[in-house]
Symmetry: C2
Subunit: 359 residues, 2 copies
């Protein structure tokens, strides 16, 4: 008989670096967040100034001070799969380990604020959620928005995704599509009796190779679009002229384009006689720097906002009617890399700055 491992305990009194290390050392790959969600729930439930609720493996903790403004501070608990990068280890100013950058550093900052700000100047809703790294219908924020939408009511959401301790505003949209180029099979000994779908795909690849993505400026921020083939599939047998070639695209588009506009734009780049099927499209989110709550935060933090190029749940908050920005420790380029890390300096800076704004 084996004794179950003791449930992990989070000590919110530890400093933000120790707390990040502790979070990294509780594995929480998407779908396996329960031990970490349990630890977060227990730690927050011990704090008298917060009301804690659980939705699946997401935890929501709120102050209820009757302030005129309410701010959401949110972070996802899950990580991509481990890549030989556990447990956490510190080298000088850098803390390495799975999720250190994306985004247990940000979660640690949020937990520290939740523990220490007993009477913030704005009411705060802390959201620690599951399944951000996987398909959208498993996303914890999506589930909360569906089952308990009142928990996400706020004037501003700060998503603590890695943004190098700066503000990344808005986010780009994503369009995935398959282009299917058709031909006709034939034996390769008589190739001229068929039509080679791979050869016919030369034009699609030429378009991709020569396309110059646009750079769209919104509220002074430059969103750099992208258009990438992420897969090609063709092949029947070693001596058969293939009759089908499928090129899968992943396009990133500026938040000024609607999903329909993005689709029309990308579709229009390619030969009209090939099949073009959109497999997924999610719109981006405008930076919203002109909205009062966002402007106030940006001015207070004293940082120059940058555009967010990847898609984040900022878009989901925007869809819910809550202006949102990314602000968190960690270089976003390191997300999902085996060597990801977060710097001690950014952890401390984010805790201090956000604490000062909420104090």
């Amino acid at each position: 008989m084996t004794t179950p491992a003791p449930a992990p305990v989070l000590e919110l009194g530890a400093d933000v670096v120790e707390l990040t290390r502790a979070l990294v050392d509780i594995p929480s790959e998407s779908g396996d967040e329960k031990p970490l969600a349990d630890a977060v729930e227990s730690a927050l439930a011990a704090l008298a100034h917060l009301t804690v609720e659980r939705v699946g493996n997401s935890v929501v903790a709120r102050t209820g001070l009757g302030r005129p403004e309410r701010v959401i501070v949110a972070g996802h608990l899950d990580t991509v799969p481990a890549a030989g990068n556990l447990p956490a280890r510190q080298e000088g100013d850098l803390l390495y380990g799975l999720g250190a950058c994306d985004m247990k550093g940000g979660v640690a900052v949020a937990l520290r604020l939740a523990a220490t700000l007993t009477a913030p100047s704005r009411d705060v809703t802390y959201v620690f959620y599951e399944c951000e790294e996987v398909e959208g219908d498993r996303n914890g924020l999506h589930r909360i928005a569906t089952e308990r939408p009142e928990l996400l009511a706020a004037d501003l959401a700060i998503l603590m995704e890695p943004s190098d301790a700066g503000v990344e505003a808005g986010c780009q949209g994503v369009l995935c599509a398959d282009i299917t180029v058709r031909g006709a099979r034939a034996h390769t000994a008589r190739a001229w009796m068929g039509v080679n779908a791979v050869h016919r795909s030369a034009e699609v690849l030429r378009v991709l190779d020569t396309h110059v993505p646009e750079r769209v400026v919104i509220d002074g921020l430059e969103y750099r679009e992208g258009l990438s083939a992420v897969a090609v599939r063709a092949g029947v047998a070693g001596n058969v002229v293939p009759d089908t070639c499928v090129i899968s695209l992943n396009a990133r588009f500026a938040p000024s384009r609607s999903a329909a506009e993005a689709e029309a734009y990308v579709r229009g780049l390619f030969p009209a006689d090939d099949e073009f099927e959109v497999t997924e499209v999610v719109p981006g989110a405008l930076p919203g720097l002109d909205r009062a709550a966002v402007g106030s935060l940006v001015r207070f933090l004293g940082v120059e906002p940058r555009p967010k190029l990847g898609w984040t749940d900022v878009a989901r908050f925007t869809e819910l009617g809550v202006p949102a920005v990314n602000f968190g420790p960690g270089d976003p380029v390191l997300a999902h890399t085996a060597g990801e890390y977060v710097s001690v300096g950014q952890l401390v800076e984010c805790e201090r700055k956000l604490g000062d704004w909420l104090r």
Copy 2:
């Protein structure tokens, strides 16, 4: 307890159409030729004018009349996998079924000749062999050439592969190669930080799409070469710029090119900075119409020789120093199709013409 099915028996006294039907109805997918080889061996062993030998699931039967010339009449016993095309069925002049065209019709003609020509004008070696439709080192002719080369000594080989009851002379060579185009991975949200191997493959596909294969005339026969992409493989994940794209090629080249010349020619068509790896190359066989034994047969049959475009074991005989041609019933274009058939007219014509030449 189940009773084993009785071993199939071939009645060589039946006409060539009935014999073809009987052969089709004994399944013999490559690797499973034993029941058919047993039936062929038994039927031939009953004929006093033939000496019968067995090598694996190949059967060799020879006359020993001391004639100044010896001719091989050969056909493979195996077929590609069934495709809902068993048992055989006749519709008017056409006999349908797995292998009817490739090449149980030809085997039936050879068996009829073996049974009826008790004292041919030339000594004859009949070869019924296994595993032609699979990789070359399993090929029954290859095995006989290795273990019993003396059985394949002859002045001429007639391979009864489907050639529309005409003579298809020589055969083209085959070159298979993989072109690997390299790039560098990146997240699609920052695609410009990587190099997309699929986009870079545009030039390879352009070469394929615009290449005009050569038409090489040898002994008055036009060999039409071919260059086909048969597969493309690329893709890491839905949001990753792929760092590798592999394009698999299948080239058919005229028998006037050596394997080395074919490789240099094909390699030279593509960008030099992409990796080019030859995965298989087999030379073709010159038509050899200037060789006495071949010329005599062609003149006797009174047919206009045509070039063979696919690779056949004619090339193997040529390598062994035995001039060889393809001459058999069935449209070669129907080989390996679910709807393959052979016409009664061609079965009868091939038996009559070859019989007349050997009588």
